[in-house]
Symmetry: D2
């Protein structure tokens, strides 16, 4: 199904799953069904796997295939949409992953730009994306724009990508440049999905018209974010802002405790142990996890995220 | 009047005036009354003079005093509040400007951090600000946080500044870090004013509770932004977002035509000629101004900003 | 042979080979023997394969193995030392490449840090390196420090790496921080090899005691650089500086013509066609190559590099 | 005397004096004669006042005039050349300082670029410099290129500046880009002075032909650096490198103890008390100075710098 099918859209909260590892860093995929149950209980509509949160680039191609297949299997029949991130520094690997994603029936693929060498300008970036997209000619393609991608403007990227990439579906926009976000939304005109990727400031994107979002904290706090969306839709901006500030507060807590590594420890506190982050990230020790838990509890986090 | 007077607040749209120069780069202050008339006609509540837009750091101390006095004179009895930016790489000059601002009856002063040497951490930054604030002990003090200030977090700055600086009134927050903005708003608790400084994304701050804003485009487009605020307050988010996108569009136009130098040419197209930008900025030629005007007209800009 | 064998050292000029591709971007390894002949004719002592110049991260693991094997085969019996870069964003792939390098008898391996996620501090960096080094326990390990690696100080890295990594052999130092270079040289005390990696400023490293260097322009200009070394060793600093300036001049030429992509076109002008650079780099067109050639010729480049 | 006088040159070690303050941060110029005696004893040929080390931008225009006059007075008849840095964010102040420097008979002036707004490209930079230079039409002009100046290439700047600025004398090159240094030296062709500004890596510039240097550590360690120059001139590269490494070691020590603030405390340990650094720098406490002294002593610093 290509994006020429205008009925395909990604909307609502899409979790970017942590990839579960065991204590030795090996894949430990048994926890996935519990994650999906949590998504269903908290109103999460999709899973964006093997991206930044999923430590995609820290895995081998074989591992990424295995993770993708496990998610495909586990999401079947649930209505949870599956987007597979296939970005890689090496284009041959990127294409192999894209073809595999299509073969197993992913709902969409996504590509972030290479981080050692950089595409040259918007032309170079679209050309890079097109090669990957062409390896999955029947699957909607979403560009993954993130803060360390380079200084590309999405409002310039979108028209060119829409013209050149037959399966272009939209952009995962993980960047605080709201002027570029607004201009990109305007250029997308409801035909392409601009999925906002900064959970802690979602409300500032909702007010500009965002209809979908991808993020790591939707793995466990979807209920909170859906309350923000509900308040926003009801015109209760005060409540929406108060709840968004609560989101900022717990994000600040896990940043204080180690950032991404601490974030990855949170599902384990809710019975969905995703294990340690892989190198080059430094996983939290048991003691550090206990301190994180204590801080989160004191802040009211566990009540806050309750469905 | 110190901020211990809890009734002092800065709210609504505050313009950051361009400093008018003649063709030889000398002060040309006769245009100020026309600017103030425009503010009144478009619902602008204050003037933040000698800041970035006002090219404060490109003027001598004597010139900054003259500009400040002209604004003090011209705003008298208008209800337009006057905030004078006194930031300077040299603390003696900064203090002299602060004392002068108090002497002439400024409603508030503001300080941006030095840009050659940098204060060390939040402690160093608050210490820098305190020295300046102490030179105007009867005038509310607002810290000017801007993108090139360094990576200070305002949510950490505010509590320390509020404790140490007797006249602390709030922050001009010209930065896209909305998580820091939200946490700073929460810390300010309506006691301190957090004035948002990125005109083109104002709506994303309004939704987080912003009650005041300082910016260069409020010099001529206050009517548009007040329509955004009105729509927002009425719960009409769709209109608010559409109008905010129009703001992004004309900002994109003047960036294409030269950025700040082009922005400074816009009042002249409305009968309030502010002259060329000073070195190190490169002013637009007459031909370039004509091209800017043509692009703005084609975009519908002149209708858009009509009161 | 581990570095506990104090007789193992890398010295002199070591080329970082371009990986030869055909016009469709597929491996085209037949040109390798000609490259080695050129090395022998110009006094190049080693080959550092699949690094930045070799576009290692733009290839699949399978391709990197094939390239490494071709170089192993072709260097046999030549005295040209073979160093294989095995750095990868994914540690499993990095280890697989390290083990393969050892299996085929590489003289040394090298690892650059991951570029999506970053090791945390010197501890994290050494820990990352140790995992890779341990996968090739009989092969000397060289850390690849380059400008986009992050702000690690090698003078701090070296003592810790030397203590933790049994096979630690030294550092490929591709960075303009000469203070760190000098302090690292002092810490290495002739036991570890600090290979300088910025060809165009080699002389500034020689004077600080550099005994080895790795770089892309040694693929074709080894004769010139050996003349610099000879002049330096003879105490003729004037000649050395003049020749080094000539090196800067031709580097400036290929930067003007496209940087790395243009650099990769140079061997083809000398009968060793390495084909186009891979995405995300943009290869030169035939016309662009002709323009590069004309500029190089006019500058006297082809005479300059003659053995 | 303009640079049209080809006999004017700045060579050898030029100290960038700390500006002496008393404990309250007021000018304390009585120590200047002792500094000059030290220069004479250690072979320092000039003083570059009110630059970075001199905290020029942290002083008012009046203070900068007073400091300049004190240095003019104290250097008279000593053969020590006086270069006055007149760079300022505000061009009117910059010109006033330039005119004053000429009036008091400075041997040369220097200008660093503004740091709030930035000149646009090489054209903008030369245009900025020309305005300042024209305010002192009889005094040689040196551009001050430093790491935080922006990414200008001096090899492009020099030819344009030489053409446009009648008094152009050269560049104070405080940047680690040795390729640009080498190409600039080649463009300067002994007509213009390219004064290297990174003391701790001076040897790497000497080998490329540097004949002059400006730096903060020449205030107290000129004897050491002159030994480096002597060894270099004698062809004894080993000794030169060993001594340069010693320079790196003590620079590392004062960086560990607070950077510039610690550096400014060193003359006081030698009987030339320059007092505390001004805000925004944080001066060392007495206890911190004692710790710095202990570390320096243990490293052999005081013997190392002995004339």
């Amino acid at each position: 199904m290509s994006n020429n099918n205008p009925s395909f859209h990604l909307t609502g909260l899409i979790a970017a799953p942590f990839t579960p590892f065991d204590s030795k860093g090996r894949l430990n995929l048994g926890v996935i069904p519990a994650m999906i149950e949590h998504y269903k209980a908290t109103g999460v509509s999709g899973a964006f796997v093997c991206g930044s949160t999923g430590e995609g680039v820290s895995m081998s191609v074989e591992e990424r295939r295995a993770v993708s297949e496990a998610w495909r299997e586990a999401t079947k029949g649930t209505g949870i949409k599956l987007i597979i991130h296939v970005g890689h520094n090496s284009m041959p690997d990127c294409c192999a992953l894209a073809a595999h994603a299509e073969k197993i029936g992913a709902d969409a693929i996504s590509v972030s730009p290479p981080t050692f060498f950089r595409p040259q300008g918007i032309e170079g970036l679209v050309s890079w994306c097109k090669q990957a997209a062409d390896a999955a000619p029947g699957t909607p393609f979403y560009y993954y724009h993130l803060s360390n991608s380079g200084n590309y403007k999405m409002a310039e990227y979108l028209p060119l990508a829409a013209k050149r990439i037959a399966t272009f579906g939209g952009i995962k926009f993980t960047n605080e440049n709201f002027m570029d976000f607004g201009l990109t939304m305007a250029a997308a005109k409801d035909r392409y999905d601009i999925l906002f990727g900064c959970d802690e400031i979602l409300l500032s994107a909702l007010v500009m018209g965002a209809k979908g979002a991808v993020g790591s904290t939707y793995n466990y706090a979807g209920a909170l974010y859906n309350r923000i969306i509900t308040a926003f839709n009801a015109g209760d901006m005060k409540t929406a802002a108060v709840l968004q500030t609560e989101s900022m507060r717990f994000v600040r807590i896990f940043f204080k405790h180690g950032g991404m590594s601490a974030n990855k420890a949170i599902p384990g506190l809710l019975g969905m142990d995703c294990g340690p982050a892989r190198p080059p990230m430094t996983p939290l020790t048991g003691k550090q996890i206990a301190a994180l838990k204590a801080d989160l509890r004191q802040s009211g986090f566990f009540k806050l995220i309750r469905p």
